[in-house]
Symmetry: C3
Subunit: 482 residues, 3 copies
Amino acid sequence: MPISPPLMTPLHAKRIRHLTSINDLRIDEIEAVFALADKYLRELGDPAIDYRIGRSMEAARGSILATLFYEPSTRTRLSFETAMIRLGGKSISSADPTTSSAAKGESLADTVRVASNYADVLVIRHPRDGAARFAAEYSSVPVINGGDGAHEHPTQTLCDLFTLKRENKDLRNMNVAISGDLKGSRTIHSFVYALARFGAQITLMPAKGMELPEHVLWRLSQEFNHTPEPKEPEEASVDALYVTADQPHQLALIAEPEAIDVHLEKTAARKKKNIDAVYVTRFQKERWADTDQDYPTVDADFLKGREFSDSRVMHPLPRVGELDVALDSDPRAVYFRQAAYGVPIRMALVSLLLGIEKDNAFEIFEDGFRGGHATLYQQPRELGIRCSNPNCIVHDPFDGKYTKNKFHLIEHQGRRLRCLYCERDIQSFVVGNKKQKTYEPHAENPGPLPKNVNDIVFFASAAEAEAALYTGKPGKKSTPRL
Amino acid sequence: MPISPPLMTPLHAKRIRHLTSINDLRIDEIEAVFALADKYLRELGDPAIDYRIGRSMEAARGSILATLFYEPSTRTRLSFETAMIRLGGKSISSADPTTSSAAKGESLADTVRVASNYADVLVIRHPRDGAARFAAEYSSVPVINGGDGAHEHPTQTLCDLFTLKRENKDLRNMNVAISGDLKGSRTIHSFVYALARFGAQITLMPAKGMELPEHVLWRLSQEFNHTPEPKEPEEASVDALYVTADQPHQLALIAEPEAIDVHLEKTAARKKKNIDAVYVTRFQKERWADTDQDYPTVDADFLKGREFSDSRVMHPLPRVGELDVALDSDPRAVYFRQAAYGVPIRMALVSLLLGIEKDNAFEIFEDGFRGGHATLYQQPRELGIRCSNPNCIVHDPFDGKYTKNKFHLIEHQGRRLRCLYCERDIQSFVVGNKKQKTYEPHAENPGPLPKNVNDIVFFASAAEAEAALYTGKPGKKSTPRL
Amino acid sequence: MPISPPLMTPLHAKRIRHLTSINDLRIDEIEAVFALADKYLRELGDPAIDYRIGRSMEAARGSILATLFYEPSTRTRLSFETAMIRLGGKSISSADPTTSSAAKGESLADTVRVASNYADVLVIRHPRDGAARFAAEYSSVPVINGGDGAHEHPTQTLCDLFTLKRENKDLRNMNVAISGDLKGSRTIHSFVYALARFGAQITLMPAKGMELPEHVLWRLSQEFNHTPEPKEPEEASVDALYVTADQPHQLALIAEPEAIDVHLEKTAARKKKNIDAVYVTRFQKERWADTDQDYPTVDADFLKGREFSDSRVMHPLPRVGELDVALDSDPRAVYFRQAAYGVPIRMALVSLLLGIEKDNAFEIFEDGFRGGHATLYQQPRELGIRCSNPNCIVHDPFDGKYTKNKFHLIEHQGRRLRCLYCERDIQSFVVGNKKQKTYEPHAENPGPLPKNVNDIVFFASAAEAEAALYTGKPGKKSTPRL
């Protein structure tokens, strides 16, 4: 039986605020989270330093946080539940897909619509990229992304930055080295966006074949190019990777993982520059087929160079071997503190999203997002181009049927379509004119789009357009890329 | 090793009240639930309309609700937990049989005895028919049936009826069409009993082979025949199915599912009668072997007839394809509101069961049930007839050993034995006299039973009686059935 | 990649108190738990007798208990959560390894370090012996052992003893018969230690091949020999097993399980001595390969002897057939009450560990344990002897890499090394001198150890010592054992 095109209108449009990407927060809003977390730590005590039994408040009394987790978790779920309890509220939890309605084949959209009538705020973890943004379309209460596929994990990034701030690092002037699976780690993706926006320098040390995805690198260089100019540019140009936009893979493409340490030590030594933080991530075995490759490991030997003397060693946890347990007593190791800060940070976030503290809430919006400059295009599932990311929520067997194909049009260095949900870019497509039933082939330097947004339909290729009975127009002359 | 006959005496007989079937509640008690749910909605706000953070009370402070769920659930468990929190209480949960004592082979009876010493009210979901009633025998606190096999799901029915009431439908004068798996859906069984008792008219639209069970049809026609006389009997006789007791299968036996829509449209058109509600259910894949059959689907096209112009489309959720997502924005769709009402309804139910609100509690009884007219017969597992339903809790490998065979004797249109737990009827059996060691064969119009209840033992057949060394007596002359 | 030797220093050494073995509590502390539990029962009502809705306090308001359960549980987890709620606190729970970070390969050590920054007290259940003690090394808050492999289950023992006390048994003058799997049952191990320390007499009735482990028997006889002298020694010597240290296996080694009952009845009859309690345990199928053997079953027939006339029948539950359900209504059956007491006992324990009640807290210590007379030896994983128990946490693939080999040196009836975690003893080993690079072979009556503790390294054998380039010294002359 054919499925009619679903309507995407939110069922209960309200003025709320969601957090599905770290980029949903302005820099000053991130700082507001930190300020409130600091306040909570002062009032309730830092559990890692100042142990106090029963350190809770009453502010959120009567409020409910729901965790809807479709992937394993301990830390994220428990820290959210703890945060809600410490605020004075309570939580409900659906943490095991095999004992929930998901086992009966229920879509995330339906579950979210129901749960958002029970709870005051939802935290979603899901194996599909873009699931949190998708869930937000169906929720009448704030949705927090607790990790969606390989896309983002923004609350982890808040903990990460807060930890560095508590360690007296200047977030606007840091040099951060990031090691491991940069391709599949959602924590890394949120983290590098935030670092770039704060103006930090980033040194990438990927495992072989696990480099930062192309579209993330492109956004770093083209959209978040806030990096302060290096003081001594000839020395620091290597680790401030994303300021060298013409060679974005410089480090990421180093072929031999065993060469990374050497390389890094050499460049760091040459530069005499301190690494403020070394961020280590595990191999995301749930996302990649297991390989026998040599995954980079961080241990005391790795950290013996002078550039690491004031580094902080960070890890989002869990670790499975890539971070030597012998480092646990090294004063530079801050990963357990990083985890501990999950509670005050999530308390602050929930408080600001719900407006629990008087006169202290995030700005709210009709659809929950502050929006941006890019134009949004929607087209039904049946017509034209689809997101190119096979793990995007729009391709989910249960939830896909609820989706339209939605893209932000990015007009910068050419023209790109960015999936609204998973934020993966499509660079090659053709533009159709629904009224004229014509299409314009892809071009390096494309011409203007039809004036009326509703006249536009995007196709993956000329062939797809022709199959839909659109007729090709001769393309504009392409001019060399700048 | 032989197992001694277990004693069925409740361990802690108390004056409480259980809810294992919708028929455990009087009509005025159902209305009391609705009145209290209305009050809670006024006080706390309807989450679907009137969004308020932290909408909770303090009434149930210090009370604990335990959910013991042996089958997957999200909605029912989370809505009970939410209801308890909104009332001011807390909850404990055992939601995954694989991580609980059930994994070690513990019986439900033992688990319930323990949990009822922890919590103030228990909610049970279990794959066996009759499990909730069985659990009630071992609980010192109120037991609520959260779904037992294919038997009943009474709290869902409370939500269903409440939704119709909130939509300004007159519960005593409705015409409700019910589509899908009427055989395996416990929500349907509770719902049709309640509809019949309120006097609604019911139109059945089963999937092929998934008709309402014979014993449910019999009860509808013979026990709940409260249907108001149709105003224009010649037109309405078809959909008020259960008033035509001589042909109870009229619609249910329509062989071709594709014919149902046509048939329904025709009869409705002919009758010019409105359908107040269309209730859709999913295929209960956990109860039936999967088949490739064409399961009925409800979509905009189905609902285009004039008789559906003021219908409400309902579904207990989760849905898996039988209800088109395109209907979600149709004003007639009320299924998400139906789910949302799960919270105020369950708040009201828990409140009335526990007597949380001053002077507002259900009447209570020694064994937790208001009882009925039928005589209860108990016989040990080793002697005589057993429940004919293979999915009844009495046949469970763990819990069966705790059970006696308990039947209500129904003396109406002949004689039936109804299993106390799963309420499945046995129509063919023989009556033995323990004192005389004789039995009387089955007869259409049976003679009187031995006077002393304790003298009676029921056998499945003359052969079974003979095997137990009972001697046959010549049966009374059978007279033609009325 | 080689793993550097981990540092075992607790990250956040604090003055707290853990409970990992029943022997971590002094007798007067056990009695303090009982006194507080009695007080809570008086104030809140005994749910098994005196049913009161909403029976909770406010004392622990704002406090959080975390349950980290790596094995199935209903009773233990729910009773801890209930206890915390009844005290006025809240709980967070990670009860399913498959949906937690354990599924990603996280070590218990890391999970505990994180969770102890969230919660105020942790309850750990784990399949490895010694896991709770191990967890305590990484926790900044009190750790309670909720069952670790086949090692101990001390809070169950508190419930067991409290039940007997509430039944007016004199804990210092009891005769307790224990039936079933005495080898794999952690509840039994904690229970017999406590019974011995209180001075009770113990009669062992193991299933065939499931006798109490050698090292438990040795501790009973050699370390907890507090048994009051039997009044009529010639009659009672058999069941007071552990006072006959030269023949510790007397009953445990009875080869034919069918002979046990007879034997017990005979000796009891001969002795005219009452059995105060019969403690039954299930077959620990998760620890042993299933066998077809005849597991001992307790039923009314078993209990018909006069010596059982005032017995209490106990079981830690769940039961799976070894305890006849027909006993449930026998006044001697107290197992459901035993489970019910889990709540007040755990309330009292948590209260005393956290110091929730003013002026009523356990004494606290720098590392959480009151310590003992035995010297602690630590040696890295790479050098010398390792724990001989293959199920010890030190051999866990994830957690083993965090461990040193730690032993208490027991100088009594020869010399033993007792694993700090699982408390399994090693009787045969050789002592090396790190400074001199020499070793002394094992001897029945060994000579003195090197004076400086840090000079000592233990090897499993002379061969192991030689492989580490240690040279043998001629052993002291062995003298006949006393």
